[in-house]
């Protein structure tokens, strides 16, 4: 006689700041879906050369303690697990063209075109979520040819990717970036192609930077690029054209 299966795991959840905000506003938690992540796992610890065989490949990972959950939703579930066909040869990778943006003229604008590698048609249905970390550096809009078929439902939000509108954006670039401003708030847009335009700066002698993060709404992967604005030559360009004065 064997023992009953006790593999069901029970865990306690905590409300995020967003969840508390919903309750405080008189709303109710209408939870309808879930996502999984493996934040804090380093797969370099996976050891396929373990002398004791396959059962021990992940022994170090499986025995590690897991940190407590944090209520800050922007810090949780960074690296989501993804459902893919078994025979994929790699993880879908978000690629952004161009890989960096630098403005030296107020009249400039740059079209940001994301794409997904390793998965044919990846993110073509739900598109991408673009988050510009600071709206005082540049503006972010969906390009006319980058509007999704279901755009009306999700216009102006970061809802498809699970990014709360206005949420603080974490630096997702490969390394720390200096001079990233935090004066404003983030901008979130959903589409397949985006347009960046620089904004006038009060201090024309200071180069400012913001981060643009592109998240695949189907694959969950993301790519962050640096948006640099050098306003040294903005001063003359920023002069508003004189309005005609009508004298009756």
């Amino acid at each position: 006689m064997g023992y009953l299966d006790n593999s069901t795991v029970t865990v306690d959840a905590i409300l995020t700041n967003k969840g508390r905000e919903v309750l405080a506003a008189g709303g109710r938690l209408n939870i309808t879906k879930f996502a999984l992540s493996d934040d804090e796992i380093d797969y370099d610890l996976w050891n396929p050369a373990h002398t004791l065989g396959t059962n021990y490949y992940g022994a170090v990972i499986e025995n590690m303690p897991v940190l407590e959950a944090l209520p800050d939703e922007s810090q949780m579930l960074r690296y989501k697990l993804i459902t893919l066909p078994k025979d994929v040869i790699g993880i879908p990778v978000i690629s952004v063209n161009p890989s960096a943006v630098s403005f030296i003229s107020l009249a400039d604008q740059v079209t940001i075109t994301p794409s997904t590698l390793n998965l044919s048609g990846g993110n073509s249905t739900l598109g991408y979520t673009a988050i510009l970390s600071d709206n005082t550096v540049a503006t972010l809009e969906v390009a006319p040819d980058g509007v999704l078929a279901n755009a009306a439902q999700n216009a102006g939000t970061g809802l498809l990717s699970g990014v709360s509108t206005g949420a603080a954006v974490t630096s997702f670039v490969d390394d720390e970036v200096t001079s990233v401003t935090t004066a404003g708030t983030s901008i979130t847009r959903v589409g397949t192609k985006f347009i960046l335009k620089p904004k006038a700066q009060a201090n024309t002698s200071t180069i400012v930077r913001a981060l643009l993060t592109i998240i695949g709404n189907e694959t969950g992967g993301f790519k962050t690029i640096v948006v640099t604005v050098n306003p040294a030559n903005f001063l003359l360009q920023n002069v508003e054209p004189a309005q005609p004065i009508f004298i009756p």
Partner: protein, 354 residues
Amino acid sequence: MAEIFKLFNPDDIVQGDIQTVSQPIWSENLNPLSGSTTTGVGFFTSSVQVSQSGDYYVNVYHRNINSTSVTNAQVQFAVAYGHRFGSGSYGDPNTVGNNANDTPTRAIYSQYRNMLLPPTDQVFTIGTGVDANEIVVINVARARFRQKIDPGNWELRIGSGSVASSWTGSYRSFIDNSGANETPTINEAGRIFGIYSGSGGVTASSTQFGLFYPDQGVFIFHAGLLRSNLGLPFNSSSATSLAASTTQPKNSVTASMFISGAGYFAARSEEKVTSTHYFVRITNKQFNFSNNPTFVTGSTGTFRHASMLRNPSVYVTTIGLYDNFNRLLAVAKVSKPLLKSFNREALIKVKLDY
């Protein structure tokens, strides 16, 4: 198509599960609260608080609030003495006539009368027709008892005899009569149980010493019975006669000393918690790949380990619960990484209390 979210089926969400949770009532999960020179836990009062508001009540802490080295002393309960006619303390000498007895003890008595008795009832009646014109009130801090005190699961010892510099007297234990399957009386203040001498859920005599209001977190003792049965030296002199004195009697401090001297107060809090359970079902074909940057190598998404090709293994550490707008409303972590692959399925029950 790739997916990072999975919808719950209606059967996967069990809402409105209400559970009654009881736990130790005192700070640091102490139960009972009793004196210990080893741990530094016991019954302590603040000299500052006594000098400022001791005419009305005295707070009892679980650690020595007067010690500069103690930083986590918290109020456990307050002790107050009330007198229906204002005896036991003197008040403002400028009040005359009908207000001459407007003393702290009268204010305390009136306060609890308004809180715990029906509007037309002027006096606490202990048992069958025994009016208590003077009362000792033990008021448990709300943060400690949360929603209510668990009836039938508390025991308070109050010292008897005299309180000397070192306690040498005996004590008497008190419990409520809920263990005797008494149907509690109900009034505006909720349930009311009688307080009797006894321990271990068994009452020792038929003499009722007070009233217990579990929904209010309040114990009302008949001060006169404590004086006559235990020898507690409450001063119930009239306000006018005490006015000539230079020192307030501070009967609340007297009561706290006899509680501290006996050094035993066991109780549990009771709380109804509404929970929703979410059954997270991860089938064999789902969530077998990861966006974790360590899962790949280079910038082209190539698996870090060749053994992962067509046989990936990932670890679940975090579960996020989302609404229709994909807002992350709740998050849960598993206690240890949970292995997931194409030949494994998982069922995780996520419990959300609010």
